[in-house]
């Protein structure tokens, strides 16, 4: 306001501009470093596996002979596992988040649960594998089935979904809820018609992250005994199965060069599945954002 103040800010302006330029450069450098590493990895994998990636590879079962081996059982196993996981974990996770945010009383118990969920998100996946082995495979006698694997994966990703969904629900402005309640709506009507649609984009982001994690996880599935050699496609949730990362791991741990290339081709298939899945989720999110405004 005063002449003095203006003088002061004008004086240090060049220094501030320099600091800004340095900071901007540092940020850009880090972004590009990450992108470049990723590109290098992708190029490496693509060069190794591209020539193996054909229809024969997609439609064959694994084999001792590299040129007859294919990824069919692992691809279908992954699709089965991830869709079953989604069907179990998404409603459970979003439901839990709705309960915790909209219904549960704030108090010691609620805080305790919140801290525990946050901790669960950081538990190593192998621990979930052990839990799955004891509970689903042995106790509930589900065996080494798609269902046992999906339930284990659901446990693994539930905390991530709950946390993301809670954040999204909490970000819905209170004025929207009040508007709804003031029109004589019940809690559920408010949640169903206003809170959930507004929170959907955020929830979808959490779901994408969680399912992407589940699709690449190997350890818990190895733990519950998903098979490495499967020469059939699962036909129901109680069939045995293998998944893409397990098959890739299996191939890359063999001595022959050709199997390593098959592993690279398997990684490409995994990446494509991931890409398709996430594109779908992002499309849903965009539609929700447009409608939700």
């Amino acid at each position: 306001m005063t002449g003095l103040g203006r003088h002061h800010s004008a004086n240090n302006l060049p220094a501030r501009r320099r600091a800004l330029a340095v900071f901007r450069f540092a940020c850009a450098a880090m972004t590009w470093a990450a992108v470049l590493i990723l590109v290098a990895l992708l190029v490496h994998v693509a060069r190794q596996g591209m020539s193996w990636l054909d229809w024969q590879f997609l439609s064959s079962f694994p084999s001792r002979f590299p040129d007859q081996a294919g990824i069919k059982s692992a691809l279908f196993g992954t699709l089965w596992m991830i869709s079953t996981t989604a069907i179990i974990a998404v409603p459970l996770g979003v439901g839990a988040a709705i309960y915790l945010e909209e219904y549960a009383r704030r108090g010691a118990l609620s805080t305790f649960i919140q801290i525990n969920i946050a901790n669960l998100a950081g538990v190593p996946s192998i621990v979930y594998g052990m839990l799955g082995l004891v509970i689903f495979v042995r106790f509930f006698l589900l065996g080494r089935s798609v269902l046992a694997g999906a339930l284990t994966m659901s446990l693994l990703i539930l905390p991530v979904i709950i946390i993301a969904a809670r954040e999204a629900i909490r970000a819905v402005p209170g004025s929207l809820r009040q508007a709804s309640y003031a029109l004589g709506s019940t809690r559920w009507q408010t949640v169903r018609h206003h809170v959930l649609p507004s929170a959907l984009p955020g929830i979808m982001t959490g779901v994408i992250l969680a399912l992407s994690r589940a699709i690449g996880e190997t350890a818990p599935l190895v733990m519950i005994g998903a098979l490495t050699y499967v020469a059939f496609v699962p036909e129901g949730p109680l069939d045995a199965f293998t998944t893409l990362p397990i098959q890739v791991f299996n191939w890359t741990s063999r001595p022959q060069k050709d199997f390593h290339a098959l592993g690279a081709a398997g990684i490409l298939v995994l990446l494509i599945v991931l890409l398709v899945m996430n594109t779908g989720a992002i499309l849903i999110r965009h539609r929700a954002e447009r409608r939700g405004g």
């Binding site: 009383r105 004025s175 508007a179 003031a182 029109l183 004589g184 405004g293």
Partner: protein
């Protein structure tokens, strides 16, 4: 004398320990506009929210006393708060339309409450009563967020009217609006009070004097003076009221 539609009896409302409204007792007459005025933080919004049980969404709040609506205490055990809010509507300080189409904003309340009758007629009726119909009739399907602030607030009023409430509570409905939109809504109030009872919180003395029939002046949670607007503004009984309405503090 007017018939009373709502009545607050010895109402004390606290957030935690600190009382925001103390022992307030006042009668809201039917088919009239009652203004609640007072300096910032004196508990106007708090009291207003008590009239349709909106304070229940603030976990720390608690209330003593009674609030009667047509003779029944709306805080009685057997009373459903959803039913209370259906019959006692509310318009908020900041326009808060749903991020949905104009039509959906108006039709949602009646739809979830299972109202019968032609929804089209109801939509048009509510928008006309809120003096918004002519401006939006060609774009009922477009998003309510595309409207101006004043239009949004009138949409919020239309949305409340579509519920056919008996009482409409308004918390500084014009404070986010320009003078033209404000004049629009003030004119609206004259029309609305033929059918509805209105309780309006306002910081604007001229507005209170223009639109209301009765005025309640609060200070620090205490009802200082309550009477016909004419009297409160021209011949206040309490010195504090006079100082406030003449703009000497507040």
């Amino acid at each position: 004398m007017m018939t009373s539609i709502m009545e607050a009896r010895n109402v004390t409302i606290r957030y935690g320990e600190a009382p925001a409204v103390r022992e307030a007792t006042l009668v809201i007459p039917e088919n009239r506009v009652t203004a609640i005025i007072g300096p910032s933080g004196c508990g106007k919004s708090t009291l207003l929210r008590a009239f349709n049980r909106m304070n229940e969404f603030i976990p720390s709040s608690s209330m003593d006393g009674e609030i009667l609506f047509r003779g029944t205490d709306i805080y009685d055990k057997g009373i459903d708060p959803v039913e209370v809010r259906r019959r006692i509507g509310m318009v908020f300080q900041k326009p808060n339309p749903f991020p949905k189409s104009i039509e959906r904003n108006v039709s949602w309340g009646p739809a979830i409450n299972g109202y019968e009758g032609d929804p089209r007629e109801r939509l048009e009726g509510a928008l006309k009563k809120a003096a918004l119909w002519d401006e939006v009739k060609d774009r009922l399907g477009s998003s309510a967020l595309g409207l101006s602030g004043g239009q949004q607030q009138r949409l919020c009023i239309a949305r409340t009217l579509a519920m056919e409430p008996e009482v409409i509570l308004m918390d500084e409905p014009c404070s986010a609006l320009d003078p033209v939109s404000t004049a629009h809504i003030e004119n609206l109030l004259f029309e609305l009070k033929k059918k509805y009872t209105i309780v309006i919180v306002t910081h604007n003395m001229q507005q209170a004097a223009r639109v209301s029939d009765y005025t309640a002046f609060f200070e620090a949670g205490v009802l200082v003076e309550y009477g016909e607007t004419q009297q409160v503004f021209t011949r206040p009984k309490v010195k504090r009221t006079e100082e406030y309405v003449t703009g000497r503090f507040g």
